[in-house]
């Protein structure tokens, strides 16, 4: 799909109210836990208190004897013949022979009230044989570490590695040794980041109904209901199209709601009890047993000449992704050096299993950790060589035609533009207060297209409805409406966009990979164009002229060209009003797996004040500069920029999964797992750079994910400059920073 080179936008680029705005401020919007069905039961999940144990016996007799309890399900109530990723998914959803982490589901209970279900869950007697556990990535790779599951490794893993290493990657080009030899300064450092959680405020919730005939319905909060359908169908042995899944409003996801945790259990409970079952996670369950991000242990080495040209780079990235394969080491390795032109580069990645929950995607999964290590070393090189960090980045920045560190050549990208905008921004030259440091970092996310299906229909009054399959997580209904309005030439308010259920469209991938505005937007535009073609045909038929002589502009058909004849334009409402007698409904539809998604680069500037007596860091100023290609609704683009930065600030300074010696999660509540509140953040400033994506009609690039990639290194560099000590471990919690200030190390 080529770029239109349209510049005179009427609706795109404006900032109208979102269609769901009022529903969200008045409490009318319905989320996962807000659905009720007649006669429904409430579910609860029995979870492991151990990090690693063999299940000896499950005795549910006491639970079943409790008044009001209608069903108990265990692994035996799910599909038995699964393999590969489906088996992993089932094993994570409900344990089989072993529990693999604190909070791992063992059984499900359905009862007539939520309280009875919770009481009953406590009565399910599970006998465990406790096994040795490991939760740290480096410890899990070390000789003698407890083995989570023999034979989990795939063919990529070289001989001699610990069985907990389940996938391995190595790639690069050039001669890194020669590159390092040519450098004037070589810096090599080790870095470590802790696992963090997406921290969506809405816990996972669903309402499930499934009959013994294999037909079912599911209401749930998800980023992708077709994914939910496929996964649930596999885990329960159903035919995909027999399960109709409706996505509720979604209270945040950030990648964490692209998979299933409780939905298959609710369906199994419903099938067993014959009643609808509602299942809602507690916050503690969300933190313990949904899909936090990976933690990482990394070594990065980079060489630079005196004039700021990178000569070589190597990176080793060890990622733990919980008790299953899937840590995002592919993304970490691929994107680590993605900002820079490098002739000599080498990457090595390890996917390591530990006794933690199976990681799920989190905003640019895998990228922030690699960026933390690489951008920190880049900063140290600039510091050592006395170079301006933006000038040095401009010397190495990738542009259209540059061969990327991971292989393919870049199409039009906007890194240089964001760096130049950063340099010109008043923030970059503002004076710094005492004990305050400034950090700069860039980051990248390549974005995604994915299976997409959109239907559009003209109403009998000329208004337009659009059905999309990508749940609206940050204002995408407004963006789709703007694109449809622009294409058809009708007011924004005349378009209503609905996120429809799985029975209404072909398969849609989730709202993930920063794809919704790009892919569903592109399909919306194409569906609108198809409908316009039909509208023009109706006008041509009415006028008795050839359709080629009809032009569509400003929401109406106009005769066009020398031989078209002299007719009054026919508006969309006039054509729609007659559609019943002129050929029936007028619709447009588009299916695609578009591949013209354009990656987005960003550059962040941050000032951090460090209190030298307590080690506490305060972000005093923050500026996000990012390439949006074309901002459809600038407020929601800025919202993504700010949200990414805010999550990055939490990750850098405060958030971490803390496992005790016993392998149990110590901070399973929001009071101890600290996400930023209003007073932790400055008013995050934003600059939208627009380098149009040649693969979208209006130039759109996904913007959701890139924003979380630069904050980790930018903040680490700022703290390093404030304290004079290079920060190589996250989070930079007060005790860790104080130790660094006192020269006691950073671990």
């Amino acid at each position: 799909m080529a770029l239109d080179n349209k510049t005179d936008f009427k609706y795109i680029g404006t900032r109208p109210e979102r269609p769901d705005g009022l529903d969200k401020v008045t409490g009318k919007a319905r989320y996962g836990a807000d659905a009720y069905a007649p006669g429904m039961l409430h579910g609860a999940v029995v979870r492991s208190p151990h990090a690693h144990a063999r299940i000896v016996r499950i005795d549910a007799s006491k639970a079943l004897a409790l008044d009001g309890v209608k069903a108990v399900v265990t692994r035996a109530d799910f599909a038995q013949d699964l393999e590969g990723e489906d088996w992993n998914l089932l094993e994570n959803t409900i344990a089989g022979e072993k529990v693999l982490y604190d909070g791992h589901a063992v059984a499900g209970v359905a009862a007539t009230s939520a309280l009875i279900a919770k009481d009953a869950a406590k009565l399910v007697d599970v006998e465990y044989e406790v096994l040795p556990h490991v939760t740290d990535v480096d410890a899990a790779m070390a000789e003698g570490a407890p083995v989570l599951r023999d034979g989990a490794a795939d063919h990529s893993v070289p001989d001699g590695l610990h069985p907990n290493v389940v996938r391995y990657t190595e790639f690069g080009r050039g001669d890194v040794e020669a590159g390092f030899a040519a450098a004037d300064l070589v810096i090599e450092r080790s870095f470590k980041t802790e696992a963090v959680h997406q921290g969506y405020i809405e816990p996972h919730a669903c309402l499930a109904q499934l009959g013994t005939d294999g037909k079912g319905e599911l209401w749930c909060c998800t980023q992708g209901h077709w994914f939910v359908r496929r996964m649930c169908a596999a885990l329960l042995g159903l035919e995909a199209t027999q399960l109709r899944v409706t996505a509720s409003e979604i209270g945040g996801g950030f990648g964490g709601k692209t998979t299933v945790f409780i939905d298959p259990i609710a369906l199994a409970l419903s099938r067993k009890s014959g009643k609808p079952v509602k299942l809602v996670m507690s916050r503690s369950e969300v933190l313990k047993a949904s899909g936090p991000t990976a933690s990482a242990s990394m070594d990065v080495k980079m060489g630079m000449t005196k004039d700021g040209k990178l000569t070589a780079a190597t990176g080793t990235f060890r990622m733990q992704g919980g008790a299953f394969p899937g840590a995002p080491m592919d993304m970490t390795t691929m994107l680590a050096f993605s900002c820079y032109e490098l002739d000599n580069v080498h990457h090595e990645g390890f996917d390591v299993m530990t006794n933690r929950p199976k990681q799920a995607a989190y905003r640019a999964p895998g990228a922030p950790m690699g960026a933390f290590a690489v951008e920190s070393v880049f900063d140290e090189l600039c510091e050592g060589l006395g170079l301006d960090p933006i000038d040095a980045r401009l010397k190495n920045a990738v542009k259209e035609g540059t061969r990327s560190s991971f292989g393919p050549k870049y199409k039009a990208v906007g890194l240089i533009e964001t760096l130049e905008a950063a340099k010109a921004h008043p923030h970059y030259s503002a004076p710094l207060a005492e004990n305050t440091g400034r950090g700069i970092a860039s980051g990248y996310w390549m974005n995604w297209g994915g299976e997409t299906s959109v239907s559009l229909a003209i109403g009998e009054d000329g208004t337009v409805q659009v059905g999309v399959g990508t749940p609206d997580i940050g204002g995408s209904r407004a963006s789709m409406a703007l694109m449809a309005a622009e294409t058809i030439g009708i007011p924004y308010e005349n378009v209503r966009v609905n996120v429809v259920d799985t029975a209404a469209l072909g398969v849609n991938e989730p709202t993930h990979g920063s794809r919704a505005t790009y892919a569903s937007g592109l399909a919306t535009i194409e569906a609108a164009r198809e409908a316009i073609g039909k509208l023009c045909q109706r006008a041509a038929d009415k006028w008795g002229i050839d359709v080629d002589a009809v032009e569509w502009k400003d929401g109406a058909a106009h005769p066009s060209g020398p031989n078209a004849g002299d007719f009054e334009p026919l508006s969309i409402a006039e054509i729609a009003g007659e559609m019943g007698s002129t050929g029936g409904p007028i619709t447009g539809h588009h299916d695609a797996s578009p591949t013209g998604f354009g990656g987005s680069f960003g550059t962040h500037i941050v000032d951090v004040h460090v209190d030298p007596e307590t080690g506490r860091s305060t972000v005093t100023r923050y500026t996000v500069i990012q390439d949006a290609g074309k901002a459809i609704h600038p407020d929601y683009v800025e919202g993504q920029f700010q949200g990414g930065a805010a999550q990055g600030i939490g990750w850098a300074l405060n958030e971490e999964y803390i496992y005790g010696e016993d392998g149990r999660l110590q901070n399973d509540v929001f009071l101890d797992y600290r996400i930023p509140v209003a007073s932790d953040l400055p008013m995050i400033d934003t600059v939208i750079v627009e380098v149009p994506n040649p693969g979208h009609p209006y130039g759109v690039r996904g913007v959701g994910e890139t924003g979380i990639t630069p904050p980790l290194p930018a903040i680490a560099c700022a703290v390093s400059h404030a304290t004079g000590h290079r920060m190589t471990r996250l989070p930079m919690s007060p005790p860790r920073v104080l130790r660094a200030i006192q020269g006691k190390g950073v671990s």
Binding site: K24, E249, G252, Q642, A646, P676, S679, D680
Partner: protein
């Protein structure tokens, strides 16, 4: 077995005994619990009077709103008072405030008014100014936290509270980075509050002349008798702690006593030589009073929980609990606060530090309760430093309170107390001794630092290691001295 009535409301004239022991009670659509007490309560909900009979007084208000009333705009994000998504407006004689409904029990509602997000808009559907501003300024992305923000902002709007960041310390948003929400608050500030809210927030007041019942005593004397007779009872003030036992640990409270209706239990008395707080005074009240006497204490209290938690929590509850990381005891001890304890008609006074015997153990006999806390009037020399990872709504790692009086260059008296450094909140007596009588100089301070080793052997936990705590304690004394010298400049790499 108690035989008097439970209801606190005059409009409930049902002569039948309202207290009944049952094996299992069924109520609402959602609950079965084994409970000794049921209660009849009346309150105003979004403008309508609601009367409930035979309800479990410890049932969470959030649960009641969502499950029984279908008011699903009020969201459950954590069920522990940490996220604010369940905030609702509460109105009573003490004014209007936002509280977390997950930490409120039905027993708290009796005689009060509650407005949920559904009740903010005018009856004709016109959104509240903060709601419209949130739409206009794109203050929601996913929107799940938005009802809580709308309610908290409406509370701030009513009280013309312009310190929005502090007001919002108890509302988590993960999508926006807060900037659009803060802009919305600013934009709404100049709009007038819709008139319907005033009526909706007016509490249906209990008739003080009626005898109030045991679960909800109306007088301190009644409370003293009841608690002495039933020391197994659980006293419920703001429930910021006990609600977690009920909601999360699924504990049954065999005998709840709600303190919210005890007359004069939240009374403040300021005389020439002391300030006395009734144990039921809220943390917010304490903060307001302290602002005029010990502003450093008040400032630290802006970092106690969140606006919602400060409105609910009481000074008595915070002190009585005995938590080694409670926020009010260190400054109170530094100020020389005294507890006024009561058992039936017997009263005794106790310096606060003596109340904390050991971790989990307080100097309080069965059936005895804290009636009041008093602070001697004095020149303000108090500084309280709460060290936590996050500014708002965080548990403290270390909390140091310093009250050092100086006369002609010499330390006349020193009271220093720390939370988070031992199993109880504790005075740094060795440090105090090393200061008293000596010149108030940096040398004296530096020489006193090692005495912290005598006073404390801190532990390591998930918040920080023992070394960090030790280091911070020393640095805080230095900071106090620097601030006192008018050079409140942080000293990089302090080396005493």
């Amino acid at each position: 077995m108690i035989k008097s009535r439970l209801s606190c409301l005059p409009e409930n004239n049902n002569p039948a005994p309202l207290l009944r022991r049952i094996e299992a009670a069924h109520f609402g659509t959602d609950r079965v619990r084994r409970r000794d007490f049921l209660m009849d309560i009346s309150f105003r909900l979004n403008g309508e009077l609601v009367s409930l009979t035979d309800v479990d007084p410890t049932r969470s208000v959030l649960d009641f709103l969502r499950e029984d009333k279908g008011l699903t705009g009020t969201k459950e994000g954590c069920n522990e008072g940490d996220c604010g998504a369940c905030s609702a407006l509460v109105g009573d004689a003490g004014g209007v405030r936002a509280q977390n409904t997950c930490l409120m029990m039905l027993g708290h509602l009796d005689g009060r008014a509650l407005v949920t997000v559904e009740g903010l808009a005018a009856p004709d559907g016109t959104p509240h100014p903060v709601q419209q501003a949130l739409v206009d300024h794109h203050g929601s992305q996913c929107g799940f936290c938005t009802p809580g923000f709308a309610v908290t902002l409406a509370a701030g709007h009513l009280s013309s509270d312009h310190d929005i960041k502090t007001l919002l310390g108890g509302n988590l948003c993960r999508c926006t980075g807060y900037a659009p929400i803060l802009r919305a608050a600013e934009a709404a500030a100049t709009e007038t509050s819709p008139p319907h809210l005033k009526d909706a927030l007016e509490a249906p007041r209990p008739d003080a002349s009626k005898e109030a019942g045991p679960a909800c005593p109306g007088a301190v004397d009644a409370l003293a008798t009841l608690y002495a007779d039933h020391p197994e009872a659980t006293l419920i003030g703001g429930a910021t702690e006990v609600a977690l036992d009920v909601n999360k640990a699924l504990k049954d409270l065999p005998f709840p006593i709600f303190l919210g209706q005890v007359r004069e239990f939240d009374k403040i008395e300021i005389t020439e030589d002391k300030i006395t707080f009734g144990a039921g005074a809220s943390i917010e009240t304490l903060r307001r009073i302290m602002a005029g006497h010990h502003p450093g204490f008040a400032e630290m209290l802006t970092r106690f929980g969140s606006a919602q938690v400060r409105a609910a929590g009481t000074i008595g509850g915070n002190v009585a609990n005995g938590s080694p990381i409670a926020e009010t005891p260190p400054p109170l001890i530094a100020l020389g606060a005294e507890l006024h304890l009561r058992h039936r008609d017997a009263r005794r006074n106790l310096p606060l530090e003596q109340y904390y015997v050991a971790y989990g153990q307080q100097d309080r006999r069965d059936g005895e309760f804290i009636e009041a806390v008093s602070i001697p009037r004095q020149k303000d020399r108090l500084r309280s430093y709460k060290i936590a990872r996050r500014f708002d709504q965080d548990i403290c790692t270390v909390l140091g309170a310093f009250n050092i009086h100086v006369n002609v260059g010499k330390v006349l008296s020193a009271r220093i107390a720390f939370g988070g450094m031992a199993g109880v909140v504790k005075r740094a007596e060795a440090v105090e001794r090393a200061l008293i009588g000596r010149p108030w100089t940096r040398e004296t301070v530096a020489a006193a630092l090692d005495a912290f080793e005598t006073d404390f052997a801190p532990i390591s936990d998930l918040r920080a290691g023992a070394d960090y705590r030790r280091e911070v304690a020393r640095n805080l004394l230095l900071r106090y001295w620097h601030e006192d010298q008018g050079t409140p400049v942080a000293v990089m790499g302090v080396t005493p």
